[in-house]
Symmetry: C2
């Protein structure tokens, strides 16, 4: 959780990207987020630093490069979160209010291996997603 902020200039350099104000700001916004953000949430935090199109293009690049992850929280639009400098984790989403809690529990390696073994047509597994949906204390009305 409380790791130090990575040097994003290095991050960008590593993925072969130029170091631009728009991309540096974007990474900082994602770094500062406590939960995955939507494009419009990012825009608000960026305060006009970057054009919408630029934002989409940067996010696309980051996702392809693996430094950002696109997450589906069943909210109806894409959410993005930083991978670099953060521990691998999954999510617990409240279906009432949408609150997201990070969870460190992960898919057991053995399970992932078993899946690949059982599959008749797949040769490799690169990544996975796992989210839990439930109700938080405040929304559990009963």
């Amino acid at each position: 959780m409380s790791m130090n902020m990575p040097d994003f200039r290095v991050t960008l350099h590593t993925i072969g990207s130029r170091i631009t104000p728009a991309r540096m700001s974007l990474l900082k916004v994602l770094w500062g987020a406590s939960m995955p953000l939507t494009v419009s949430e990012i825009q608000n935090k960026l305060q006009g630093v970057s054009d919408t199109v630029t934002l989409y293009r940067s996010l696309e690049l980051f996702v392809k490069s693996g430094i950002v992850r696109k997450v589906d929280l069943q909210h109806g639009h894409a959410h993005y979160e930083l991978v670099v400098g953060k521990k691998h984790h999954h999510h617990l989403v409240c279906q009432g209010c949408g609150t997201v809690e990070d969870i460190t529990t992960c898919v057991p390696t053995s399970l992932e291996k078993g899946v690949l073994k059982k599959s008749k047509s797949f040769r490799s597994i690169i990544s996975h997603s796992m989210e839990f949906f439930g109700m938080c204390r405040r929304c559990q009305t009963v």
Copy 2:
């Protein structure tokens, strides 16, 4: 896999919906699908039986009622699949060609319980998602 097709009139009745041609057809299309479908794929298969808006509304109702599941396959748009009459399962998605393989492997109950126990703010877990992304034989170019 090869279960018999449920009586969808009963299904609809159970969720408090009327039995209409549009909804019956939709359920049959979903039943016949070997992988989660997008809205436009469904539309094609429905051959104009149902208006786009109606389709969205029916899907929304079905998802809320729990007889259909909205799945994120990282393809950029929503996919829907039937829950009723099908075994609970997850997916293995090829990042090359988009092929989807159903997998019966599921999140271990103990793992889900552990997640809830560890959480400080959640009281219940209702559902979960878990998808694996990799490369199928044909797309593994190397």
